[in-house]
Symmetry: D2
Subunit: 378 residues, 4 copies
Amino acid sequence: MKKSMLPDYKLIEIQILASGDILQIPVYTFQGKKEGKKVYIQANLHGAEIVGNAVIYELIEFFSTLNNEDINGEIILVPMCNPIGVNQRNLFFSTGRYSPYDGLNWNRIFWDYSHENINIDDFVRENMNFSKQDIQANFFDNILNKFQEKQNNINHRRGVSFSEHYRNILQSLSLSANYIIDIHSSSVSSIDYLYCFDYRQKSADYFLLDYAILMNKYDGNAFDEAFLNPWLILEKKLSQAGRNLIFDVESWTLELGSGMRVNEESVKKGFKGIINYLSAKKILNLEVVLPEKSTKFIPKNTIKSYYAIQGGIIRHRLKEGTKVKEGDMLYQILSFSKGSKMPFIIDIESADEGIIFDVSTNDTVNQGEYILGIFPHV
Amino acid sequence: MKKSMLPDYKLIEIQILASGDILQIPVYTFQGKKEGKKVYIQANLHGAEIVGNAVIYELIEFFSTLNNEDINGEIILVPMCNPIGVNQRNLFFSTGRYSPYDGLNWNRIFWDYSHENINIDDFVRENMNFSKQDIQANFFDNILNKFQEKQNNINHRRGVSFSEHYRNILQSLSLSANYIIDIHSSSVSSIDYLYCFDYRQKSADYFLLDYAILMNKYDGNAFDEAFLNPWLILEKKLSQAGRNLIFDVESWTLELGSGMRVNEESVKKGFKGIINYLSAKKILNLEVVLPEKSTKFIPKNTIKSYYAIQGGIIRHRLKEGTKVKEGDMLYQILSFSKGSKMPFIIDIESADEGIIFDVSTNDTVNQGEYILGIFPHV
Amino acid sequence: MKKSMLPDYKLIEIQILASGDILQIPVYTFQGKKEGKKVYIQANLHGAEIVGNAVIYELIEFFSTLNNEDINGEIILVPMCNPIGVNQRNLFFSTGRYSPYDGLNWNRIFWDYSHENINIDDFVRENMNFSKQDIQANFFDNILNKFQEKQNNINHRRGVSFSEHYRNILQSLSLSANYIIDIHSSSVSSIDYLYCFDYRQKSADYFLLDYAILMNKYDGNAFDEAFLNPWLILEKKLSQAGRNLIFDVESWTLELGSGMRVNEESVKKGFKGIINYLSAKKILNLEVVLPEKSTKFIPKNTIKSYYAIQGGIIRHRLKEGTKVKEGDMLYQILSFSKGSKMPFIIDIESADEGIIFDVSTNDTVNQGEYILGIFPHV
Amino acid sequence: MKKSMLPDYKLIEIQILASGDILQIPVYTFQGKKEGKKVYIQANLHGAEIVGNAVIYELIEFFSTLNNEDINGEIILVPMCNPIGVNQRNLFFSTGRYSPYDGLNWNRIFWDYSHENINIDDFVRENMNFSKQDIQANFFDNILNKFQEKQNNINHRRGVSFSEHYRNILQSLSLSANYIIDIHSSSVSSIDYLYCFDYRQKSADYFLLDYAILMNKYDGNAFDEAFLNPWLILEKKLSQAGRNLIFDVESWTLELGSGMRVNEESVKKGFKGIINYLSAKKILNLEVVLPEKSTKFIPKNTIKSYYAIQGGIIRHRLKEGTKVKEGDMLYQILSFSKGSKMPFIIDIESADEGIIFDVSTNDTVNQGEYILGIFPHV
């Protein structure tokens, strides 16, 4: 492909290691000719979830063939955004899902403005009668000021935990964006899907994926939640005060393929969906594909999870993507339980009707380990 | 020692492993002649924190020399309460702080009645004019019924995650107790201290430890919090309704000594403190020691934590128990940073006045790893 | 299936854990009506390699339908032979390849009689003129006596390392067998194959697998090597002394399928091959299948291994089982190297002609991690 | 300290990580005014063994105050020589003892010239009548040529495993040295000691440590063994041919202090011993301290190791440095074995007379875990 445009490239220091080596993250920025909105795209926050790096590589290659007139605003891309997680190995397994320092899930460490001791009611009262644009700008200012204030208050003798230091770096790049896209994979084996927040369902369609989990239950401090949650609260409080506004601020987590694997089909889907979404949002001056069928939404609290009812070896497990009815055989456990003389096999039937969306990657299970998940009634 | 009383002993199955082996927890129960209150004592919820097992051993030895007239009510002891955590090794290190299955801290998995969709205001309204004893009994009933209801609703084809299965076992043993004592150690190197909840400060003194952290900020779903939190909410709501009651329900986490080590001084302190506490609570008919000096309380949100401001090797770190003033040298970092030709040493001074209560066990640090903690102004 | 015969079943204690729980291995023995030879079959020495458990389950089911007249001698089956390895998890990964205690590969810990300070030349001189049966019986005696002597010399205050204790248990079950079969899987993704020792190539055919690695280079102390090595040395020394004998003693490692997965095709192949082998060896009175094509042998020291020439993300890697010529594209590395502004892709071509027999399971690689292996010229 | 001399400093690339970050090792070289012998000193090959970095820091500081006339020859220092091992964490534990890629002990990966298919007998025949200097020079040439030949033969499409790549880097720096010093610590808690090879006992004294383990049993491919082994074989073969020579080539492993801790006493001892050794070897023009008492040598195969005879909690274990007689109580195991109703304590007495030189750092033990080691009869 002929390249007509190179991204701005910078490296940001993330961590000085005990050995004196210094981990960095690469930041690629494409700046459109016209000012406009800002989109932030990152990949590989969990160490095993690598598909997004290939998606970002393809995006960089593609954007490089465009002219700066084809882009409005700014596109920031951060592949390999978590070098600690990416490089971590136990044998050949990528185990970078939790911080080795404090055990925290790398995607539950982010700062949520609404958890600060702030008064959104006051903000609503004061901004009630302003234009949507002004309210959005003012709220952005409040978030960024608070974020900066916290950074300024760090005591340089006490330091900060790595989790806090690291989140500050990623959020200083992304908090001022209109749209953030965090590309994950299932850490097990999975179909492709995305997470969607309330009142953003229409935009979800542009990603051209079949399924989306609708966030009606929060884990707290995930990258996408931490970004959008304050805006959702603001929208709700404005609505209660009689002003119905949906701000032009969106947050997406894509789940593309499975851990430790680059499924090229998932790379293509992710690439195509993101290009289409950016076009729909007018960040790219490209034609928008209208989805043939709209995304199916599964409320998060209705998802059904299956866990091993005892330890053993899984056999004949159905694959991700399989439609099941209640009573269908989902999998078997071969058990050599010490409480029984002869080994035996247990059949596990589905308690649900729906589609199996992910299955664990290990056929050896201790009691209570995850087996598979079902999107019900789809 | 002459034994005059043997505890009731039972083994409870915790987990059938993939290999067919079955992990169990031992439950020792001493039943007093007279009915009375119930106390539940466990140890080793985190794999490295073993001091409490020795404390429980000494308690069992001691109780065995008593007559059942010396005990009122019931004392339940569960040493080695987490066999998965206890047995887990990486090299010779005990790494059982987080569940290998889902990364959850073993002490952040517990069920909190107040997180259910329940209405404590209704309860307050209905029980407002009852006696303290009746209110306590009714609230216990509500908690235990809800807990049972959730257990009954487990779908036996879907199973439950091990974290949930495990917490159900420990909480089915402890939720109906008046007092629970969860014996931890610092996972690093530490002085002995305990955690105390609001309105229970007077009881804290009976443990005869110098320091207590006062819980004014919750992590959520810790064993002690999950037990007491509903009661604290009830007390608060009753108080708002004009009825000031402190129920005879208490929850304690003792932090005795350091990880992977049986410090015999800490064993003695833990043993002595628990005997004294049980005597003060009239569960043991023994003389109560009046503490010479009362416990110093440090509000949880005032504790100061120090993290490595860059990676390197720690030298000359002050030890736990050291009193420091602002500006005192706390530790040095020897750095071979790749950004500098010659190695260099950074002096880190204290930003606080107080006592160092714990220090990390590893002198090799990546940037952002924990170094030490200070109880300020004590 | 109608069962006409039940195996003898016993549990052997392997390890008392810190928690007091006790790990055990199950031993199933089918005893033929007639005395005869002894075969020992185990599975799952490495934690992730579970296919063999399903094979053993199918064998137990099948043998149970036989009459004891169908079996000559004794068949001992030990599934789940390494409960420490089987149950070990890091996240959901089965990481039980190395002992957590001393880092030793669980399949490099076994006792080899020939490593003792013994004089096989003396044995040859003394037994030179005996019948093959007598030489075999005498050598068996020597091995078992030495093994017993070492066990008797264990000092019960010093104890022994777990590796030594554990190997003693497995070898006390297997050292007196004529044939041992150790069922492994590739710890990565692999075609099915087996390991074969010199002068046993003809027997290899009966397992009905396409490929075998011919052991011409030893790792030392593997289960199969430790068993057969003294016999191979004896055969060689007898041959040098002018007596050419191949004893009726064989040792096999099957590699069936991939880690953490029960590939049912591999289960079937393993089951069919073992039945056929046991029939060929007259342990089962069943018809022997003559293999259509004989097994292809690849000398161990000719296998070609590919390692990542730098860190990055693997794309478009060829699959196990693919035939390649020199110069064929094997895989790509997508690199975001900090030494380069733009990400780039490196094509890696094959330096060999042959068949890809295994590929690693992780598409994320640090420099020097294993990528794939080639059986050359097959 | 006034600095009058700066070392040459270079960074060598060790590994490009998946994230694109590049690990490096720092190499500090002090070049004396006069040509002379070469000494190579490294530290921290195992991730937890950090004392040597502080020793090297003190050596660099000290050498910097010298004039180049005070040094003869060349001193190469490599602190933090294994960044993968140093930075590896599991919780806060430094677990970098084994390579995460292949499970190999980082100190069992080195290339030993004598394991190549070479004929030292031929060399002896050809060099028999040369001067000691010439023989030494010729043998060095042979080693370095073979090493170079192997490097040249690496196929750049196949790559090499990280273990091989890494050993090549360290050995390309050190193989041509006269003396190598590899500073380790005990990975558990230990007194200070060193490892000594045969015919080098007199030099050992100059390190001023009380104890040395005499290498009469090899693990194979350790850094010190791999360096000296070919020379020892050469000396032996020359001696058998009637020429008794001890070449001016030495190899040392110091064991200073304990894992994860910078014991400043051990830093001082290591610093003082190395300065004295280098002075005795005329690399430093400084006065040599004559040791008051000579080092005690303990043949490696006489060391007694104690392992947990069952799982449980260790109490009252004697400390490293304690002299014991047979029958002395070494430690207790507190057991909550599931096979017994009441917990119990087992006393373990010493089977040996001697000094406890190291004790494990974890008081929680599964059966077969290491407890302590005894140097007998010292």
